[in-house]
């Protein structure tokens, strides 16, 4: 819709200059107020982030220790399937609003703590991958020549592996664990950042402010990081936002396969894997962690859509 509004010009043209003076942040915030889905996404994500930070205060139970006598208690308001014939039917209570798992651990507490792992992995993997990839892209685009060719060829090689396959192959060798999963997901995703950055740098390089900076003797490194990079960062931010969502799904996938951060922490992927085994008897084990992943990823994708429209209209057709 924004596009249509922009195509009604003439009368509005005198205001264009005033509008251009607003910073990118101001523009983005203005668009957010107009974009309801983006606002909804920001709202959901804030709740998830707050829950992750305040986990110890929100959860009545330890996420790692369970009460085996209360195993497979069903969620509140539902009737528990009776595992022994003839037993009196039991109903779920508010003690365990989302029920308990096969070891009697409280599912709500585990989901809240699981948010920590998902958010940390998603954010850290993207920061690492984006930092590494954009630095290489910056160097590649700015210097060109052999360095450029080398970096781009290596990048092509990484793209020859399906994302998840590469991650699984590296984890298979290095082993799981929080840090390894972050590194692996960063390694598996640096290439698009490098390519985006390289493209932006190639066009920025020819612009007057770069030529001017070079003319007054600004050194290469300062020129790259102080002048060129900030002007090329917008598409990286947009792509990175979507990638946080992808990294959260990938982490859950690795954990689901038992190749993730390990069983010493509650993660949404681990919980799903447990739930898969009990799908015929206890539906709530797999249902709630999946909902948590979906809501989080959905909210990040909504924010990504909004950022893309607000910061970088050119990107609308990519992705």
């Amino acid at each position: 819709m924004a596009g249509e509004r922009a195509s009604v010009p003439t009368l509005l043209t005198p205001f264009a200059e005033v509008r251009a003076r607003r910073s990118a942040t101001q523009r983005a915030l203005r668009m957010l107020r107009r974009n309801r889905l983006g606002l909804l996404g920001a709202g959901i994500l804030s709740i998830v982030v707050l829950a992750a930070i305040l986990a110890p205060f929100l959860t009545p139970y330890d996420p790692m220790t369970g009460d085996i006598t209360k195993r497979l208690t069903c969620p509140v308001l539902t009737r528990c399937p009776s595992f022994m014939p003839g037993a009196t039917p039991v109903r779920g209570t508010l003690d365990h609003p989302l029920g308990t798992d096969q070891l009697g651990r409280d599912i709500f507490s585990r989901i809240v703590y699981g948010a920590r792992v998902s958010l940390i992995v998603g954010l850290a993997a993207v920061l690492l991958g984006a930092g590494f990839g954009s630095t290489l892209g910056l160097v590649s685009g700015y210097y060109g020549g052999r360095i450029d060719a080398l970096i781009m060829r290596i990048g092509e090689l990484f793209l020859a592996f399906p994302y998840l396959l590469l991650a699984i192959a590296i984890v298979a060798v290095l082993g799981g664990g929080l840090l390894n999963v972050i590194i692996v997901l960063a390694i598996a995703t640096w290439v698009p950042y490098a390519r985006i950055m390289r493209g932006s740098v190639l066009s920025a390089k020819e612009q007057e402010y770069v030529i001017a900076a070079r003319a007054i003797g600004v050194r290469d490194l300062a020129l790259l990081f102080k002048h060129v990079a900030p002007n090329c960062i917008t598409p990286i931010i947009v792509f990175g936002t979507f990638n946080v969502a992808a990294a959260i799904i990938a982490e859950a996938g690795l954990s689901f396969l038992g190749l993730g951060v390990g069983a010493t922490r509650p993660t949404w992927g681990n919980m799903l894997a447990d739930g898969r085994a009990y799908v015929a008897t206890a539906w709530w084990l797999a249902t709630f962690p999946g909902l948590a992943i979906m809501l989080t990823v959905l909210s990040i994708n909504m924010i990504g859509d909004w950022l893309r429209d607000a910061l970088d209209p050119h990107l609308r057709n990519i992705e």
Binding site: A160, P162, L165
Partner: protein, 307 residues
């Protein structure tokens, strides 16, 4: 055109060579896979013996050259789990099952995405467009392994309509894994079809087609769709890689014993030759599919040949 194709083929050859090298590097990241393979309980003699058997006592460049030559000859080491079979044999035995699943998912996602994406673009901002776009947003956000489990819960456990797991070449066994594998690509492709169609529908030649009085269906299918489809071909090629990767998890959920499940089980049992062979086969087929897509592209869009 012949020259362009030749260039792509040579290029793909070097990428495959790179993939083989990468697999070699990855499997040597820890320096010594033997300890990993045999586990904690292995004695020093066992480790020494296996190391000699696999040629791991030789210098790294000799190992690399040996690896290259054995890959070129298709002569892989024996699987550690299934004694007596070469790793490649086992992988190739399972591979058709993964391909069946991936192709089924590709067909479903491409057909539905093009249908709904086109409808959405033609009826822009209508109720159906909003519903399709909302579904696509959800589809992109639902982890497909969770979707798979939910499908089992609904259609196998509660309704009892479909089998919950297992490999059999029948529609009943294929339906749930196919939907599971297809869903993320379907959502993405629907959005892309819509935006591609919107772009084309706004172009001058479409206005011309309408102005000369063509029926709307002819405008959309004969004129607009053909051009909107071109960029989709590349995405479909890339999506095939996502499908091959996604198949690893989907096969695990549904106990569909293709290469994906083989790979995961090989990782659990530290069957290194099989890990190498399956990673290699999946990655090489991804390269080949993209080569085919590139070549198809020259046929669809003659402008590519000139660049």
């Amino acid at each position: 055109m012949g020259q362009y194709i030749l260039r792509r083929v040579v290029h793909a050859f070097f990428v495959v060579l790179g993939v083989v090298t990468a697999v070699f590097v990855i499997t040597n990241l820890t320096g010594d896979p033997v300890q990993l393979m045999l586990g904690e309980a292995a004695t020093a003699q066992d480790i020494e013996r296996v190391r000699r058997e696999l040629g791991l006592d030789r210098p790294l460049y000799v190992q690399y050259l040996n690896f290259l030559s054995s890959v070129a000859r298709g002569d892989f080491p024996e699987s550690l789990r299934y004694r007596g079979y070469s790793a490649l044999e086992i992988v190739l035995d399972r591979y058709p099952r993964t391909i069946v699943l991936a192709i089924a998912a590709l067909l479903v996602s491409v057909t539905l995405a093009i249908t709904f994406g086109t409808i959405s673009a033609v009826k822009r901002y209508s109720a159906i467009d909003n519903v399709v776009m909302l579904l696509a947003l959800f589809g992109q956000s639902i982890p497909n392994f969770w979707l798979g489990i939910m499908l089992i819960l609904i259609f196998a456990v509660n309704l009892g309509w479909l089998p919950s797991q297992g490999y059999q070449l029948s529609p009943a066994y294929l339906i749930l894994p196919t939907i599971t594998l297809a869903s993320p690509g379907l959502a993405r492709l629907t959005r892309l079809t819509r935006s591609g169609m919107l772009e084309v529908l706004n172009s001058d030649y479409i206005r011309t087609a309408r102005a000369k009085g063509l029926r709307e269906s002819a405008v959309i299918f004969r004129h607009a769709f053909k051009n909107a489809a071109i960029p989709l071909v590349t995405v479909i090629g890339l999506d095939f890689g996502v499908l091959l990767g996604g198949a690893i998890i989907t096969e695990q959920i549904f106990q569909w014993d293709g290469v994906g499940q083989l790979l995961v089980n090989a990782i659990y049992s530290r069957d290194f030759p099989v890990i190498q062979a399956s990673v290699l086969i999946i990655a090489v087929s991804f390269v080949l599919i993209n080569l085919i897509v590139d070549i198809m592209y020259t046929w669809l869009d003659p402008r590519v040949r000139l660049t």
